[in-house]
């Protein structure tokens, strides 16, 4: 940061629209984090676009004073891909919930990730369908009792970070709605990354799934259950940093450091080309009641999609010159009558 005053203030990024999430919704703190971050990024509102699908989270664009599109359910990554290809100059954010991104839009999400198009995807995961009033979602735990699963849901949940890593994502991070500083840091990192970045945000739906993440995010639980990943540092946590993560036979495990010795603790390397270790870390917890990593799981350089597309255009231009319509119409041979 320099001493020069910032070009914008957080308030400049707010629209005049009344925010209509339920009082107490975790989305408010995410919105605040985003509005506070924006001036720091030194970007212009007119060059920033928020695109969303459908769901509570998807109202986000209406509350950001940028260009924005509230699209259709699940399709935001596809809409954003078209925009990013047509306009590689823009800063594009995609916002959606777990239903939007992991269920109806799962296909678009994984394909955006493998292509590595330059968009920042924020996945607000509250493990429930909010806007349709409380059905189980693709991240809900097995046995979840909801209106559409009165005897408990049968579906095994997705782990969004595991899915993203499996889909070749070049930037994968996780944060939660109770820690604004951490959210801002993850969004800042996502923005700086060239290519598709995805940030899973543990978000509380206080109406249909209240407290779902409490085991991890409540202040008194954080020491025991939130593992903060920091690049180049041993992965350790606990009230006295007494616990550490090791890789044992291809599986990440939590152990008392006293039992294994400092040297055995895994040193986090987010830049590792091979995603296996990041994937192991994503499998550490089987639910929001066990030690769970947050932070950047993976950040690797990979060629960005629209950049490649633009260089193909430039190559074609170099080889063939700029397209001439008259000669195109003659390209299959002509004759005179």
């Amino acid at each position: 940061m320099t001493d020069t005053p910032m070009r914008t203030k957080p308030a400049d990024w707010a629209t005049d629209q009344e925010v209509r999430w339920c009082p107490g919704c975790g989305d408010y703190s995410i919105l605040t984090a985003m509005r506070m971050l924006m001036p720091e990024l030194e970007v212009d509102r007119e060059n920033t676009v928020f695109i969303s699908g459908i769901g509570c989270a998807a109202r986000f664009p209406y509350y950001m004073n940028t260009y924005g599109m509230h699209g259709i359910h699940g399709r935001a990554p596809a809409i954003a891909t078209g925009l990013a290809m047509a306009r590689p100059d823009l800063d594009i954010w995609v916002v959606g919930g777990d239903g939007d991104m992991m269920s109806i839009g799962g296909n678009h999400l994984i394909h955006a990730l493998r292509r590595n198009v330059n968009i920042n995807i924020l996945l607000f995961n509250n493990m429930i369908y909010g806007l349709t009033k409380g059905q189980f979602s693709p991240t809900s735990e097995v046995g979840k009792v909801t209106k559409s699963s009165p005897m408990g849901s049968l579906d095994a949940p997705f782990n969004p970070v595991s899915v993203a890593l499996g889909a070749e994502a070049s930037f994968v991070a996780r944060t939660h709605d109770m820690d604004r500083e951490h959210m801002m840091e993850m969004f800042r990192r996502a923005h700086a990354h060239k290519g598709t970045s995805i940030v899973e945000v543990f978000q509380n739906c206080n109406v249909f799934n209240d407290g779902a993440w409490e085991g991890l995010t409540k202040k008194q639980n954080r020491n025991a259950n939130l593992i903060s990943l920091e690049h180049g540092k041993p992965i350790r946590f606990g009230a006295d940093d007494e616990l550490g993560v090791i890789i044992d036979n291809g599986v990440a495990k939590v152990v008392p450091i006293a039992d294994v010795g400092e040297a055995a603790v895994l040193v986090h390397d987010e830049g590792k080309t091979d995603p296996s270790t990041a994937f192991m870390l994503s499998r550490l917890a089987s639910g929001p009641f066990e030690p769970t990593p947050v932070g950047v799981f993976r950040a690797v350089d990979r060629i960005e999609y629209a950049t490649s597309s633009t260089s193909q255009l430039a190559m074609a231009h170099n080889e063939k010159g700029s397209g001439d319509l008259q000669s195109l119409l003659r390209s299959r041979g002509t004759w005179q009558v």
């Binding site: 007119e46 699209g71 596809a78 009558v337």
Partner: protein
């Protein structure tokens, strides 16, 4: 080469010939037909083609399912159809003969590869006895030629293995037909060396086979004469031969230049639309960005995103893809952003007949989205017309900020015709301006941007693209307030917005109805899309027979020309041939209460002139 002196055969002049090349799908019949078409085009004949191929890439060899055919009609007069029935059939095997013989006119010529009429092949084609011997070909002039053997002999000197040699037999057939219709040899020799460049042995083999076919015609005492078809009196100028899909791709590129906008195509491969994706993917030097999406929905959604960013956006597909895109097109209607959806219609429902044409997506184009979601529809009438139709669709999309449906079909997509190249400078300017500044003021008198404040003339909303200072705004699928574009669930606002979206589309300016044929006739044939050629030829035939007939062909199907109801009401009888179960008929009846008679055909094969003529005569004679 043979040292026998060429025989002096009589050269007979013909007005036209309709040749159908038929063989296994791996026999190269499309290539053969295409090349014969190109040579004939260069000679100045008018022509029309009708390729017909199975959906399978390589169906089981020798079976009826695997027959691939290419019909070409060449003439010394102007034509609009590939002809009802071939006068010459080139059949490379028994299956091709069996599948195609019923199409051939009585007395027509059948040129056969007699080597392929083995017991095993006859069995595969379902023949119980050999049609070459059992009298099946009585009533035709049949010419059995040992194409496989002569080809093998001809290419042997180039060291080609007998198995590979067989692959050149389509060039033998092409050589023979080239001799028969006095086509020059050089263009095909040139074509072979370009097409197979880098594969010297293949070039030598194909050349040898082609020459052998040509020489066979000249020396074998099999044919009574050969034929000449003089150039057709077409308007003078420079011509090229285009298929509908290529003309569409070029039309998209032209539209981008005429609008001074970069082109974006989001597409998912689907028969018979993929060629547009292929063609545009090869035109990156025109600034064309193509995106092969993960599915049909993403293809349409990416186009919406690109349109929001200021590109001239397209998505290309066929019926099943349009069904998948439906929700996204609803979004585009609601966002009021310009984009063009190209639907190359094929037989359905579901996978249906992927390689066969149909015109049965009209109702889907019109009404196939949830709620009230009007979209303009443009339908080209011939392969070359696809170029202009693409520009027209873009004009409407850009001027009125709306998604537009362009309805072509599998027939237009793959068939071709000579196209008098347009004067580029005469093409319309379809450019529009992006919004650059405020268009309203708030209570304090400060400038504001109202994304849904409409142009009073076109009812189009401003197109303000990201990157434009001060005009930051949000659009979305939720109902929005008139002018401000803010979310609004207000009942009266919704009523108003539904009305505005409909009024905008209804008021699109389109050219008035054109009446072809006899404008003072009491009988009219109404059509749209690819039936144009067959209807046009029918009208000519009926006129020759002394009937008065008018022809109205709708290119703008939504909105229709403002005067179309009035024009149609002026006829006593109207028939409407469509490759569907009466979709335009239903629209016309519903809109104008006119009793249009449906003439329907849904067998995957375009209407013949004879079929429409029969329907027309029945209607004319009916009390």
């Amino acid at each position: 080469m043979t040292d026998t002196a060429p025989r002096e055969l009589p050269l007979q002049e013909l007005a036209e010939v309709i040749i159908r090349f038929a063989g296994d799908s791996g026999d190269g019949m499309q290539l053969t037909g295409d090349q014969f078409t190109s040579i004939s085009a260069a000679l100045g004949n008018d022509l029309a083609t009708l390729p017909e191929f199975p959906a399978e890439i390589r169906a089981p060899q020798g079976t009826l399912a695997g027959v691939s055919a290419f019909q070409v009609r060449i003439s010394d007069f102007a034509i609009t159809t590939p002809g009802d029935a071939p006068t010459v059939l080139v059949a490379m095997n028994p299956a091709a003969l069996k599948a195609q013989l019923h199409n051939v006119v009585q007395g027509g010529a059948i040129i056969l590869n007699s080597d392929a009429f083995t017991e095993r092949n006859l069995e595969k084609a379902g023949y119980e006895s050999n049609p070459l011997e059992d009298g099946s070909l009585d009533g035709y002039r049949s010419y059995p030629v040992a194409m496989s053997q002569i080809t093998r002999d001809a290419v042997a000197v180039h060291g080609v293995k007998p198995r590979d040699a067989e692959r050149s037999k389509n060039f033998f057939a092409l050589g023979l037909i080239s001799w028969m219709y006095t086509r020059p040899v050089e263009p095909t020799i040139e074509f072979i060396s370009t097409k197979f460049s880098g594969r010297d042995q293949v070039i030598k083999a194909n050349e040898a086979a082609f020459q052998a076919g040509y020489n066979f015609g000249e020396t074998a005492e099999l044919f009574e004469s050969h034929y000449e078809i003089k150039p057709a009196p077409l308007p003078s100028g420079e011509y090229t031969n285009v298929t509908g899909n290529t003309a569409l791709a070029w039309g998209c590129v032209a539209a981008g230049q005429l609008a001074r906008l970069p082109i974006f195509l989001g597409s998912y491969p689907i028969t018979p639309a993929s060629d547009i994706l292929h063609d545009l993917s090869a035109l990156k030097h025109f600034g064309v960005r193509t995106f092969q999406a993960e599915d049909e929905i993403a293809a349409a959604a990416s186009a919406v995103g690109a349109a929001f960013g200021g590109a001239l956006a397209f998505t290309t597909t066929s019926g099943p893809g349009v069904a998948l895109k439906g929700e996204t097109l609803g979004l585009a209607v609601s966002l009021e952003l310009p984009m063009v959806v190209i639907d190359i219609q094929r037989g359905g429902p579901s996978t249906g007949l992927p390689t066969k044409p149909e015109q049965a997506d009209l109702m889907m184009a019109m009404y196939g989205r949830h709620s009230e979601s009007p979209m303009p529809i443009v339908a080209p009438r011939s392969p070359a017309d696809c170029f202009d139709a693409a520009i027209e669709a873009c004009r409407i999309a850009l001027r009125y900020r709306t998604p537009v449906m362009l309805l072509s079909d599998g027939y237009l997509a793959t068939s071709s015709e000579p196209w008098l190249l347009p004067d580029i400078d005469s093409l319309p300017d379809i450019g529009v301006d992006f919004q650059r500044g405020f268009n309203g003021t708030n209570e304090d008198g400060e400038g504001i941007f109202l994304p849904y404040l409409r142009d009073p003339e076109t009812l189009a909303r401003p197109w303000a693209i990201p990157g434009t200072p001060d005009l930051m705004h949000r659009v979305g699928g939720i109902e929005k307030e008139d002018e401000t574009g803010n979310i609004s669930y207000d009942p009266e606002n919704h009523q108003k917005m539904v009305g505005l979206r409909a009024a905008k589309i209804d008021a699109i300016e389109v050219p008035d109805t054109e009446v072809a044929g006899d404008t003072d006739a009491s009988f009219c044939i109404l059509g749209w899309g690819s039936t144009w050629g067959a209807i046009d030829a029918t009208v000519a035939r009926l006129q020759e027979a002394g009937h008065k007939v008018a022809h109205v062909h709708l290119r703008n199907l939504n909105p229709m020309p403002k005067d179309v109801g009035e024009v149609l009401a002026g006829f006593e009888k109207i028939i409407c041939p469509e490759m569907n179960d009466g979709q335009l008929v239903n629209l016309i009846r519903a809109k104008f209460l006119l009793d249009v008679k449906a003439v329907n055909k849904m067998n995957g094969v375009p209407f013949t002139t004879g079929e429409i003529e029969a329907a027309a005569l029945a209607a004319i004679e009916a009390p």
